[in-house]
């Protein structure tokens, strides 16, 4: 059974007194023990999607569609149910730890918060979280728990956030760019401990990242978001064997290589589009080298193609043409 189901999730946020759409349509499931990577453009709605799962959206937000946890509607939960859900079932690693960790309380106080609220004795809770700091590679955890957030480096604070999420032993982890502030060896350690939790406890994971290679290596599937839409959902193993959406192909073509220095990096043409700017057609059409009239006038639905889902009218026709080489050529014409 799936742990999480998002069914046609749509979110509007108030901007200057008017509601503005930031997520159009996201349908996605995560099974027990499964990891789904979420990649996509900055501003595409990755963080808002994760927040919707916790019902932690900005004040005044409206939500359409459904969020289900183990089959239960999260949208319909009353206060007590929602509180229990957040304290025991789902945890989130926020993108910007410094903005989410209270600067005037010690790291230890932050870490034990959820456990204590759940009824654990503080001393026990402290023992649990101190051990977890060790697991995420923080040396001398006994000292660290007595320090204040500003005394820790960016990557240490990010690992404090990871430890706080793991402390409640959640069934679902929403990890929003959990390793961007970590060097690659520390990142590797953290990924190993998340992997262990998946294998041993069946932890399910929504893993937001900009690192396509990391997502391919640690996730089962990769979901790609663009301007508030889920545009592609593929098995991770498929990433290098042929993606089906031109936006995903553009992302792959934009990565710098660790082994060769490019004279100039490829970037997808045009400016990023906000979700509310998307008209009747495909949100990516104005920047797509393969767009035709239909793409500009009719919005493609997400449909099943082989083992993937893709929202592109032309994915069958374009099959085999979306290599990074072709993408760069097509854009330079």
């Amino acid at each position: 059974m799936s742990v999480l189901d998002l069914e046609h999730l749509a979110v509007d946020l108030p901007v200057e007194g008017r509601l503005r759409r930031v997520i159009h349509d996201v349908t996605l499931s995560i099974a027990q023990g499964e990891a789904v990577g979420v990649v996509g453009e900055s501003g595409a709605g990755k963080s808002m999607t994760s927040r919707a799962v916790l019902r932690l959206l900005p004040h005044g937000a409206t939500v359409e569609g459904e969020v289900r946890f183990e089959g239960r509607s999260v949208m319909a939960m009353d206060r007590t149910a929602l509180r229990d859900y957040r304290l025991s079932d789902v945890a989130m690693i926020f993108q910007d730890p410094r903005a989410h960790i209270n600067p005037v309380r010690t790291v230890g106080d932050f870490l034990v918060e959820a456990l204590v609220e759940r009824g654990d004795a503080k001393a026990d809770a402290l023992r649990v979280v101190t051990a977890l700091l060790g697991v995420v590679g923080i040396s001398d955890p006994q000292r660290r728990v007595k320090q204040y957030p500003h005394e820790l480096s960016g990557g240490m604070l990010q690992r404090v956030m990871i430890a706080s999420a793991l402390a409640i032993e959640p069934k679902l982890l929403l990890a929003d760019e959990p390793t961007t502030a970590l060097d690659v060896t520390t990142q590797s350690d953290v990924m190993v401990s998340l992997d262990t939790q998946r294998r041993e406890r069946g932890l399910a994971m929504l893993f937001v990242t900009h690192d396509l290679e990391l997502a391919a290596a640690v996730c089962d599937r990769i979901a790609v978001m663009y301007a508030g839409f889920l545009v592609e959902d593929i098995p991770a193993s498929q990433l290098h064997r042929g993606v089906q959406h031109p936006y995903t192909a553009g992302l792959l073509a934009s990565r710098p290589s660790p082994t060769v220095r490019e004279r100039r990096l490829f970037a997808i043409a045009g400016r990023p589009l906000s979700a509310y700017e998307v008209g009747d057609g495909c949100g990516f059409a104005s920047r797509c080298a393969f767009a035709n009239d239909r793409c500009r006038s009719e919005r493609p639905a997400l449909r099943v193609v082989g083992a993937s889902r893709v929202a592109c009218h032309r994915s069958e026709e374009l099959s085999g043409q979306l290599s990074s080489h072709n993408i760069r050529e097509a854009t330079h014409d």
């Binding site: 900055s42 961007t180 690659v184 900009h210 290596a217 970037a267």
Partner: protein, 304 residues
């Protein structure tokens, strides 16, 4: 500008922090910095050496990358260079002038701001939450340039366009932006004062690869056009390869290796650098724990 004066030079930089004592003081475990102090006296004041004897030079128009372990002192070095943190020892020389830590007037502060700008690792805390993005850029431009309003407005548009933000985002508050959008605001704000040295502390880590490519191309264009120098702190070695001429590798407060980017990334001498390169996610890669020493730690490399 004198041609052969380095844009930035740091000599023997050191930073110690006082730390609350009780825990173990023995401490050089898997990561983090060395603790000094007397292990037997539990209450004795202890200090943590966050940066230990770091020296490097960035010539005009060059780009130096600082990479290394989380907690190794990279941000602390950057904060000492911009004057947000007072070094325990060593010197910071910018454009041939040694930095002092005396009180300075607003004129001096302005001059310094045009010498060195920094884009912080966590942009949210460095943006004024009550100020729209446009107002924030406007403020920086008015502070540094004596331009008529039209010119200021035009420059704001140009900066927004360069980092890929649209008008509506510009009129919003930082809170209404996504993580990567805020990061781009921070980059635009740093570029606004046209500094001689730009320090980027993980400035592109939270951008998707396409926008990141755009920003990296922009930084390289600006360098070509103006001769600005970069100090680029990053965990992404592919990005480092793209933007830097030289690399400094840090671990536990110290420099473990430095040299030309191409050389360090193809023939790393230090075992830690080798482990870093081995841990870059790529096709066929699987995360392994550094605690059980992986195959990447080949014995032959220890001798060098």
């Amino acid at each position: 500008m004198t041609e052969n004066v380095p844009a930035l030079e740091v000599i023997g930089l050191r930073k110690e922090y006082r730390v609350r004592g009780a825990g173990s003081t023995t401490a050089v475990a898997s990561s983090g910095s060395a603790l000094l102090g007397h292990p037997s006296k539990r209450r004795a004041p202890t200090s943590l050496v966050a940066v230990d004897d770091v020296s490097f030079t960035v010539a005009q128009g060059r780009s130096l990358a600082v990479v290394g372990e989380s907690g190794s002192g990279k941000t602390t070095v950057a904060r000492m260079i911009v004057g947000l943190e007072r070094p325990t020892g060593g010197q910071v020389v910018v454009g041939g002038r040694q930095r002092s830590w005396n009180q300075m007037g607003s004129r001096e502060r302005r001059r310094r701001a045009r010498e060195v700008q920094i884009v912080f690792q966590d942009p949210y805390s460095s943006l004024d939450p009550r100020m729209t993005i446009r107002a924030c850029l406007d403020e920086v431009l008015r502070l540094h340039f004596d331009w008529p309003s039209e010119r200021i407005d035009a420059r704001i548009e140009e900066l927004l366009d360069q980092v890929g933000l649209d008008r509506r985002q510009a009129d919003g508050l930082p809170r209404s932006l996504s993580g990567g959008q805020r990061q781009r605001v921070a980059i635009a704000r740093a570029l606004a004062s046209e500094p001689r040295v730009l320090i980027c502390d993980e400035a592109v880590a939270s951008l998707d690869v396409s926008i990141q490519a755009q920003v990296l191309n922009l930084l390289s264009d600006i360098r070509e056009a103006t001769g600005v120098s970069y100090l680029f702190i990053s965990h992404d070695l592919a990005v480092v390869r793209q933007v830097s001429d030289d690399i400094v590798v840090m671990r536990r407060g110290q420099m473990v290796e430095s040299g030309p980017t191409e050389q360090i990334l193809t023939q790393p001498g230090d075992p830690y650098t080798q482990r870093l390169l081995a841990a870059i996610p790529r096709p066929g890669w699987h995360p392994t724990s550094s605690h059980d020493s992986g195959p990447e730690q080949t014995p032959s490399t220890e001798s060098s």
